[in-house]
């Protein structure tokens, strides 16, 4: 068997990635059996990311029946036994427009933490809605609680683009009507939740309708799901507020002896969270409060005059300062350290959150301890209302008051993802127990 085909047609069948856009990472979320794995299989198949031997394996398993696309992503033995996806799987495909990374998140309720994993860091969320599970004749179409939960989680974690894909329209009697009624229910829900959907697309993942191939449907004139994803723009945090860089790694030997003061300066590496940094800028170090001028700036492999937000920069100051991993560099006067704050806490651990207990926290690149002062409420996913609660269990999302061992340069997660998020780790087990999203200082 030759692995290489000579004809040109085969070469252009797997097209290269073009365009200056970053790869788009998106998650797929839905309830069990909503067809997530089938949708991903469809995207991989139609973009020719599935190779011959993988197809062979599916055909062998199918033993004559139509192939089951979901088997492509259900990778672990345990989930093949149970027939559900139990962990986030990452899949890759490319079109002429863009490279894509799919984070396949399970819809199974007890594995919500994996969906949080898939959502944190994703550029878009595709929330699948199974048209066959909803009563479209009801006066008000009631969405499934999981659909609300997935969309709310994506919004809470500030996934920049949320897309609803109404699936299995091939299996309902009146597709146009079902689409219209479910779309209206989604629009009403999104309005209540403050979500601005990037699109609501009627699809059949099984057949490929409006996934990669346009399929006319009365009442829908929009693009296919794939075309929509190709055009989603990169979204970054608001640029105002000055430069901000969490120091990740302190490297050696900037400023060679010939060029400057002669000292072998340390290079402070980190990914810029906000603003840009240029040679000549004055920056303050948190927590020491000392300031210095940027004498030299490194990008990977070369010296540069300026580095923009989202990229790693190596900063060399014009004088020796005591700076270590975990510190922050920022435009002087812009950081407002706080020690007690209101936050949203997404709890991911099977052991419930304990008020007053010390947990490890990671903020930026700093580890420190902190504790929950009080649980104020728990979010009811069906009504979006805060409900009285005094504890949080696995998969709960609540409002808490939190206190840290030292003051931190915290900002609201709604406007600054890097300075506004903390990881909560159980000191006894080292498990990642929760995600803390900062709201306001107290």
């Amino acid at each position: 068997m030759s692995a290489v085909l000579d004809d040109t047609a085969a070469r252009i069948a797997r097209p290269p990635v073009v365009g200056a856009r970053r790869p788009l990472r998106f998650l797929t979320a839905g309830s069990v059996d909503d067809g997530k794995s089938t949708l991903i299989g469809r995207l991989l198949l139609d973009s020719r990311a599935i190779l011959a031997d993988q197809l062979d394996m599916l055909e062998t398993r199918a033993a004559g029946a139509p192939i089951d696309l979901s088997l492509l992503t259900d990778g672990l033995e345990a989930e093949r036994e149970q027939g559900i996806t139990i962990d986030v799987a990452f899949r890759y495909f490319a079109t002429r427009e863009r490279k894509f990374i799919i984070a396949d998140a399970p819809g199974h309720e007890q594995y919500t933490r994996n969906m949080v994993t898939a959502a944190a860091g994703s550029d878009a969320a595709v929330v699948l809605v199974d048209a066959t599970k909803l009563d479209v004749d009801a006066e008000r179409v009631a969405l499934l609680p999981q659909t609300r939960r997935h969309a709310l989680l994506a919004q809470l974690l500030r996934v920049p683009h949320i897309v609803f894909a109404i699936n299995k329209l091939d299996a309902v009697t009146d597709a146009a009507r079902a689409f219209a009624r479910i779309r209206d229910a989604l629009v009403a829900f999104a309005d209540d939740a403050g979500i601005a959907p990037a699109g609501i697309v009627p699809i059949s993942a099984l057949r490929g309708d409006n996934v990669t191939t346009p399929a006319p449907l009365p009442g829908y004139a929009g693009p296919t799901l794939l075309a929509l994803l190709e055009r989603l723009y990169d979204e970054s945090d608001a640029p105002h507020g000055g430069a901000l860089l969490p120091v990740q790694f302190v490297g050696g030997a900037g400023l060679d002896a010939a060029s400057g003061t002669g000292h072998r300066a340390r290079v402070l590496w980190g990914r810029i969270a906000r603003g840009g940094i240029a040679v000549g800028d004055t920056l303050a170090v948190y927590p020491s409060g000392e300031t210095a001028r940027v004498a030299e700036l490194h990008a990977t492999g070369r010296k540069v005059a300026r580095v923009e937000a989202g990229r790693s920069a190596g900063v060399v100051f014009d004088r020796q300062l005591d700076v270590s991993r975990g510190d922050w560099l920022a435009t002087p006067g812009t950081l407002k350290p706080v020690q007690r704050f209101a936050a949203t806490l997404a709890w991911l651990d099977t052991e419930p959150a304990v008020v007053g207990r010390k947990y490890w926290l990671r903020h930026g690149n700093r580890w420190l301890q902190g504790r929950i002062v009080s649980v104020e409420s728990r979010l009811d996913i069906a009504t979006l209302e805060p409900r009285d609660a005094s504890e949080l269990a696995v998969n709960d999302i609540g409002e808490v008051v939190f206190e840290t061992q030292q003051p931190l340069p915290l900002e609201s997660f709604a406007t600054q993802r890097v300075a506004g998020a903390l990881l909560v780790v159980d000191p006894a087990t080292n498990r990642t127990s929760g995600a803390l999203l900062v709201k306001t200082p107290i």
């Binding site: 290269p16 944190a120 030997a253 998020a421 990642t432």
Partner: protein, 316 residues
Amino acid sequence: MNAPMLVERLLPELDLAQLDALEEEAIFILRETAAAFERPALLFSGGKDSCVVLHLAEKAFKLAGQTSTRLPFPLLHVDTGHNFPEVIAFRDRHVAALGERLIVAHLDDSIARGSVRLGSPGESRNGHQSVALMEAVDEHRFDVLIGGARRDEEKARAKERILSHRDSFGQWQPKEQRPELWTLFNTRLKPGEHMRAFPISNWTELDVWLYIQRERIALPSIYYAHRREVVRRKGLLVPVTALTPPTLGDTVESVSVRFRTVGDITCTCPVESDAANAADVVVETLAVTVSERGATRMDDRTSDASMERRKKEGYF
């Protein structure tokens, strides 16, 4: 190894901006690993993925023009004793040229100690690597191993985190994986445990070859077309070597081949190819219809779940 016209004609609109994004992410993970752990090691076999990771590490930790600096960690190779000689020669030449420190853990030493017992003298040693690897981790007290595994290689790997926790037996617990939120990596370990770090998790085989071409990364010669004696067996080209001699009835052919992956000599097969350089491989990779492991690894075909089983046992 200049990019020939062919690639430019075939990929007229090819824009490498996405490679910059992948490089940035990989270097970020390498710096994170070096800063967050006390005793890292970079797994370096001379294989193409580890050559890419080593190149990224050089870029991450050496400023432009500073060739005298060393990486903040040693390189580690688990030598099964069943390697292609070209790869071992390349490994030693490359490491010497860079001036890095290489630690070699020999599987033969584990066999001599009795911690590895082979079922038969000629069997594949891939599955036994984990023992020698864990012995090296214990001896050198490594707390993180940096590797070149990619999520697109195989279904079990598609579920691997970027920083992946291993218990004190070196085992992967797929259901106990730590949620990985943004870049707030949970780097906390208990004594005896270690982490695996995968900087090129999000790269595909095509990305790797595009990057090798763009960065002019040197690879062992067997990654490019050469004539080799092979036997056709179950759709695979099995190389004829001292460890894998032809059996009665086999027809030995001389074929122009290259290796897509390089592992234990007893279970790694080449594919037919005329690709003389990385640009040619890019062209072939765009046209390829068989996945990397499907075409080249006899041991992954054993069952759908073979990779997952080996990972649970501590395999890289």
